[in-house]
Amino acid sequence: MNRPDYDSSFEELETSYTKEIGQRRPTGSIMKERIRQPQMEPTASSTTSSDATIFSDGVHTQGYTNEDPTRPDDSGDQYLTKFKDFRFKTDNFDEAIKNQFSKVAHPKSSPTRRSNEFAQQFHRMSSLQNNKKVGTYSTGRSNAELRHPRSMSELKINERHKTPEFTKSSIRIRSQPSLKGSKSYGNLKSTSNGNFVRFKKSMPNLNPIGSPIVEVNDEYADENIENLDDTVIIEPLNSYDYMKQFKESPMKDENFDFADDQDFNFNFDDDALQPQFLANSVKRRQSPKEYNKHEYLDTNEVGSLPYRGNRNSSGPFRTGGDSNSPTSRIRTIKQSIDDHIPTDNLESKSVPQKRWVEDPHILNEFPDRDTIDANLPGNPFLIKNNQHRSISDSIDEGMLQYMKTRSNSNNPKVVGSMVFDEKNQRWVSVSGADSDPFSVINDQFDVPQISKGNRMLKKSSTATLRGQPSRRSLRDGLGIPIAGHRISVGKQFGDSDLEVDPNVNYTINSKTLEKFYHEENRWNKKVGAWFILRTGQLDHPDESFCSAGEISDDSLDPARRDVSSTSKDSKDFMYEIRKMVLNSTRS
């Protein structure tokens, strides 16, 4: 349902008001007829909303212009018959004019009074008519005489009620032809935005006697949509719904608590808090200082320290509740370390002056660095600058030569029992016993024939679906024979040899080849005007792409193959030059 956004800004209203001045008015009889038949096919002038605005009372203007003796299109007797006195062939012209204007100036026949009469008459009629008429009145596009300042308010109210009749009539009115080039505020607004009438919040209430404008709430406007819940709509199960059942709950933030999570699926007792590797009586290595500190702190409760009670009782700023706060505890422990830890067996001794003096003999317990035998278990393996030297020191010459052979390098990189083969770019066993545990598996995939053309070519690989250059589709549809031509695709930058075999011929259907042809044509159009291309290059832009029959020919003619490859390079070069020139021109 397309309904315009009635926006009553001042600029637009002013425009409508200006256009109305020079507009031709229908006669009063026609106006009455329109009141009775609001569904009547509107005239071109009546379709414009400038017939009546809230600034120009249509009824008032109508009544005044009906009796305007200066209408330019009325002339002669036809003009004079509109005056009562002239209908009776009054000869006294001046008196007739005086009488006429005295009647006009009479309070009983003032334009305001007539306007009120018309308004009352309209309300009476509108009360007898159905909602369809109300809708016509509210929009006011086909019957400009019915425009009233309250029309916008009425629109609002009707929109809130959302009676089906009103909506239906509105649609019908909307379908009526509008005047071309009309600049009314209704036509200036987009008709596709929203399903409800919008008002600017800053718009003042232009009708002091009308009902206040009530803004429509969006949720209220969607009420009809929500009521559709009674209708059961069965959607077909798609892949998204299928995967939804496997979807995990959204993760929490940094502290992902397994214990509090609903998806906590571990079933273990408290012994599991000790990991498996700790069950082997592996004891942490701590310095003697730490041992003493922790043993002391573990065996002595913090609250049982003798000074603690004194501080709690004597401290002027501490209460009993504060003693359990983390801050106070940290302070207490720190002080206990300072005052009560025996420091006799540490590397330094505490002197009464609170100064720490180094023990010069403490380093004697550590062995000399040069006397450490790294081969003995338990001793640290010192990292030396030259890794090759360490390897050569630890192994004999024969083994070193074997490693060099295995690694195809004079400086073999050995990690554990593996040595890196520089030539083949892989890690191989030092012992040379590279057993293949997967030899029992026949992993030749039975990839089905593609029956859906390019669609499967794209879907067979996600490298193109997720942020990959489109050229990868050639590689990823690999090994999948497609009816059509065959080309050879070499290794591309960034490709892994684990995936790509450059000797494999791939097949491309005619549609893809046609796409390449057009791309090549476009390329030559861009570059051809900038450089002097070789003769026939523009005529045969697809020479870099060859069909199945041409592959063998190219392979037999190395000169042509070189031309093909260099042609692409030169074109890259040309394109770069063109781009540089264009960029420099713009700057």
């Binding site: 496997f246 979807k247 599991a272 554990g416 598996i441």
Partner: protein, 234 residues
């Protein structure tokens, strides 16, 4: 609230912290970095960014009174980075071998990856993970079936749990690391297994149990014996 406090007060004040290194290996563009970023930061980006060398992210999870810190090493899948495989393999408690469910060739490459990584560290728990499950079910019906069968055979040879996941749709991302924890610490995981062909496979109970353990790949316990403030009074 009182129950929560009383429960916390019953927890011992000693907090252990264990570092668990996890290596991610596999062909290029199978989704190693996406998996790591999704698990650590809960972000998924469609755009592909090539990993140069090794990416490294950490995430801390809390398991009862123990903080588990996952140090995830993501190795670039290109061949020029294969010499950095020891960074991801050596010292890792778990090595996750990843392949693309929509590219069967990446599954075949798992053989090479396993030979090399297992040679460097035979004490790590291997986990076989198939990625992009959401895209695989949109392809021809026979392709996922073939890959599923072959992947299960690979898992048997590798003695590795097998998981099909989707980073884009958040399918089985956290379960991969839960399985890793369960296998490292011999915990019992109660996640139901999924064995039907076509569904995102989740088979872990019979695989990865009797892996040879060495001190080199064992999780490192660091920063333990922290005394946490525990409110003893209410």
């Amino acid at each position: 609230m009182a129950n929560v406090r009383s429960r916390h007060s019953s927890i011992p004040g000693i907090k252990n912290q264990i570092d668990v290194q996890v290596g991610l290996v596999g062909d290029a563009q199978v989704g190693k970095t996406s998996l790591m970023v999704k698990y650590v930061q809960n972000i998924f980006d469609e755009e592909y960014t090539q990993t140069l060398g090794v990416n490294f992210l950490k995430r801390k999870v809390n398991l009862r009174s123990t903080d588990i810190i996952f140090s995830i090493m993501d190795l670039g899948g290109q061949k020029e980075f294969i010499n950095m495989l020891p960074l991801a393999a050596v010292g890792s408690s778990v090595i996750i071998f990843m392949f693309d469910l929509t590219r069967p060739k990446t599954l075949q490459s798992i053989k090479d990856w396993f030979r090399q990584a297992h040679g460097l560290n035979d004490s790590a728990v291997p986990i076989l993970v198939g990625t992009k499950y959401d895209l695989s079910i949109e392809t021809d019906e026979r392709v996922p079936g073939n890959i599923s069968c072959t992947a299960m055979r690979y898992a048997q040879v590798m003695n590795a749990p097998i998981v099909f996941c989707s980073t884009a749709k958040s399918i089985h991302i956290q379960k991969i690391f839960k399985i890793a924890l369960a296998k490292i610490f011999n915990l019992t995981l109660t996640v139901p297994e999924i064995e039907s062909i076509g569904d995102p496979l989740l088979i872990y109970r019979d695989f990865g149990n009797n892996v040879k353990r060495q001190s080199k790949s064992s999780p490192k316990r660091t920063g333990s014996m922290e005394r946490t403030p525990v409110s003893s009074q209410q």
